[in-house]
C-alpha cells in the first residue's frame, strides 16, 4: 500500500503527503531512537571528561565496553547462572500458571476458593518472603527458583484463567450440541482460545522471571551463597568497581530485552494467521 509508485499512479496532494509521511515514519522509527541513544552515550562520555569524574564513580562508556570484554569470562559465566534460574523459573511458571488456570477453569468454585491465595502470593514483596524461604529450603538453586517462580507465575495464571473463561457463548453451545466431552472442550476450544491471553502473560512473565532471579540472588547473595550476575554486582559495588557494575547492569538489561524480543517473536509466529493483535494494519 505504501509502495505506490507516484510515477505510475497519479496521486493527489493529500495522498502524496500521506505516502511521504508513512515513508518518513518508517525510517524514523529506527533512526530516531538510535540517534538519541548515540547522542546520550556521547553526552555521558563528555560529562565524564568535562567534569573529570573519576572512574570509580562514573566510568566512561568506552571503559564499560572494555570491561565487558576484559571480564567476559567472569561476567558471562555469572550470566549463565542467572539465565539458568531465569529459564527454569519461567518454565515452572508456565507449567504452574497454566496448570492452575486449567484447574480453576474446571469449576467456578475451585477458582473462587483458590484465586485469592494466588493474589496474596503475588502482592507480597518477594524480598520480604525470602528470609522465610531461606529457613525452610536448604538447596540454593531451589531457593532461587522458588523466588523467581513466585514473581513470574501470576501473570500467566491470571491471563490464562481470563482466556479460558473468554470463550464465545455460541462456540460453547456448538461444542455442547456436538456432544463434546469436558476434555474435548478444553483441548479444542478453551485452550486455543486462551492462547493470545497466555502469550500476553508469558511476555510479562519473561521479564519478571529475570527480575525475580536477580532479586533472589541479591537477597541470597547478601549471605554470600550465590554466583550469578547479581552477586557480581554486589561484589563490584563493595570494591567500588564501577565499570564492572555498569557492564553487569548492561548484560542484565540486554538479557531482558532479548527475552522480550524472543517471546514477542514466538507470540507473533503463533498468532499471526488469526489473531487481531498480530495482523498487519490494512488501512
Amino acid at each position: 500500500m505504501t509502495a505506490i509508485d507516484e510515477g505510475v499512479l497519479k496521486l493527489d496532494p493529500e495522498e502524496a503527503r500521506r505516502v511521504r509521511q508513512e515513508r518518513l515514519e518508517r525510517i524514523g522509527r529506527w533512526v530516531l531512537p538510535l540517534a538519541i541513544m548515540i547522542l546520550a552515550i556521547w553526552l555521558w562520555d563528555r560529562i565524564c571528561v568535562w567534569n573529570e569524574i573519576p572512574q570509580y564513580i562514573l566510568p566512561r562508556p568506552g571503559v564499560v565496553l572494555w570491561t565487558l570484554y576484559n571480564d567476559a569470562g567472569l561476567l558471562f559465566s555469572a550470566l549463565l547462572v542467572t539465565l539458568r534460574i531465569t529459564f527454569l523459573s519461567l518454565l515452572l511458571a508456565v507449567v504452574g500458571g497454566v496448570g492452575l488456570a486449567v484447574l480453576f477453569a474446571q469449576s467456578k468454585w475451585v477458582e473462587m476458593s483458590f484465586f485469592p491465595f494466588a493474589i496474596v502470593l503475588q502482592v507480597t514483596p518477594i524480598v520480604a518472603i525470602f528470609p522465610l524461604i531461606n529457613i525452610y529450603v536448604d538447596n540454593q538453586t531451589t531457593k532461587l527458583l522458588l523466588c523467581a517462580w513466585i514473581v513470574a507465575f501470576f501473570p500467566i495464571l491470571s491471563n490464562t484463567t481470563l482466556g479460558l473463561n473468554s470463550v464465545d457463548r455460541n462456540l460453547r453451545d456448538m461444542f455442547k450440541l456436538n456432544g463434546a466431552t469436558r476434555w474435548q472442550q478444553l483441548r479444542y476450544l478453551r485452550l486455543p482460545a486462551a492462547m493470545p491471553y497466555f502469550l500476553g502473560g508469558l511476555k510479562i512473565a519473561g521479564g519478571l522471571s529475570l527480575i525475580g532471579a536477580v532479586v533472589a540472588e541479591f537477597v541470597a547473595g547478601a549471605t554470600g551463597q550465590s554466583s550469578g550476575l547479581a552477586s557480581r554486582i554486589i561484589e563490584a559495588g563493595y570494591r567500588l568497581n564501577a565499570p564492572r557494575l555498569f557492564a553487569a547492569l548492561f548484560l542484565i538489561s540486554l538479557t531482558g530485552i532479548v527475552i522480550f524480543l524472543v517471546l514477542s517473536l514466538i507470540s507473533h509466529l503463533i498468532l499471526r494467521r488469526w489473531h487481531e493483535s498480530a495482523l498487519k494494519q490494512e488501512r
Partner: protein, 276 residues
C-alpha cells in the same frame, strides 16, 4: 406460467409427510420473570422447510434453542417422533454469527463435529471435501476464517452443520448480517442443498421476504409473551429461483405474510409504540 406453478403445488411435504416433532403447550419462563414462550403448539413434519417469523422478543430463538436441546422448557413437552429426544448428532445448528474457530482452517472447522465424534482427519476428509464442494468452497480448505468474506464464513458454518448429515437443520437468523446480494445467493444455495438432501429445516428470521422465498410453511409469532400467532402455507413449487423472486405470486405471498405479521405485532398491547 407462474399461475400453473401455484396450481400444481399442494406443498407436497406438508400434506403427506409424517410428523417429526410436535411441541405441545411448550412454555419457557426465565429466572428474571420474563415469559419467553407461552403455550406453543407446533408440528414439524419430515422434510419441512419451516420458518419462524416474528418481531424481536417473540421467542423464536428460544424455541429453536429448546428444539436443539440447549435449553429445557418450563412447561409442555417436545414430542420427537418415536418418543424421547432425538440424538443430538441428528441436529445441525447454524448460529446468527458464523461462530467458527478463528485459529482453525476451513477444513478443520468443518471437520470439527466429526472430530468430536472421534473420526480421524483422514477418515473425515471425503465427507468434509464433499460438503465444502456443496457450499461452493472448494479450494478454500486451508484458509482461516478471517481471510473469508461474511458470506463465505456463513457457508463454512452451514457446511459444518451439515457434515454429520443431520435430519434436522436449525438456523437462527443465519443471513441477518449479510448484504442483500450475498443473502439472495445463500438463499438459493441453501434451497438447492435442501432439495437434494431433503432434511428438515427450522429457520428463524425476521425477514418476510426471506421466509416466503425459502419455506413451505411460515409460522408467524407474536411477542410479550412469545407465542405462535398464525401459520401460513407457502404453496409455490420448488425449485424456486430468481424467476420466482420477481414473480407476482411471490409478491402476493409476501404481502399476505406481511399482513399477518403486522397483525401479530399489533396484537401485542403497546408494541406498535416502540419502533425497532
Amino acid at each position: 406460467m407462474m399461475q400453473e406453478n401455484v396450481a400444481q403445488a399442494p406443498a407436497s411435504a406438508s400434506d403427506v409427510a409424517p410428523t417429526l416433532l410436535a411441541l405441545r403447550g411448550v412454555g419457557k419462563v426465565f429466572s428474571n420473570g420474563v415469559t419467553a414462550l407461552s403455550d406453543v403448539d407446533l408440528t414439524i413434519r419430515e422434510g419441512d422447510f419451516l420458518s419462524l417469523l416474528g418481531p424481536s422478543g417473540c421467542g423464536k430463538s428460544t424455541a429453536l434453542r429448546l428444539i436443539a436441546g440447549l435449553s429445557t422448557p418450563t412447561s409442555g413437552v417436545l414430542d420427537w417422533r418415536g418418543g424421547g429426544s432425538l440424538d443430538r448428532s441428528n441436529i445441525g445448528f447454524v448460529f446468527q454469527e458464523p461462530t467458527l474457530l478463528p485459529w482453525a482452517s476451513v477444513f478443520d472447522n468443518v471437520w470439527l463435529p466429526l472430530r468430536l465424534k472421534g473420526v480421524s482427519r483422514a477418515k473425515a476428509a471425503p465427507a468434509v471435501t464433499e460438503m465444502l464442494a456443496r457450499v461452493h468452497l472448494t479450494g478454500f480448505e486451508d484458509a482461516v476464517p478471517r481471510e473469508l468474506s461474511g458470506g463465505m464464513k456463513m457457508r463454512v458454518s452451514i457446511a459444518r452443520a451439515m457434515v454429520t448429515k443431520p435430519r434436522v437443520l436449525l438456523m437462527d437468523e443465519p443471513f441477518a448480517a449479510l448484504d442483500e446480494i450475498t443473502r439472495f445467493k445463500l438463499n438459493n444455495d441453501l434451497l438447492e442443498l435442501w432439495q437434494d438432501e431433503r432434511f428438515t429445516v427450522v429457520f428463524v428470521t425476521h425477514s418476510v421476504f426471506e421466509s416466503v422465498f425459502l419455506s413451505n410453511r411460515v409460522v408467524v409469532m407474536a411477542a410479550r409473551p412469545g407465542r405462535v400467532f398464525d401459520e401460513l402455507p407457502i404453496e409455490a413449487a420448488y425449485p424456486r429461483d430468481e424467476a420466482f423472486r420477481t414473480s407476482p405470486d411471490y409478491a402476493a405471498l409476501c404481502r399476505q405474510a406481511s399482513d399477518v405479521l403486522v397483525k401479530a405485532i399489533n396484537s401485542t398491547a403497546g408494541a406498535h409504540h416502540d419502533g425497532h
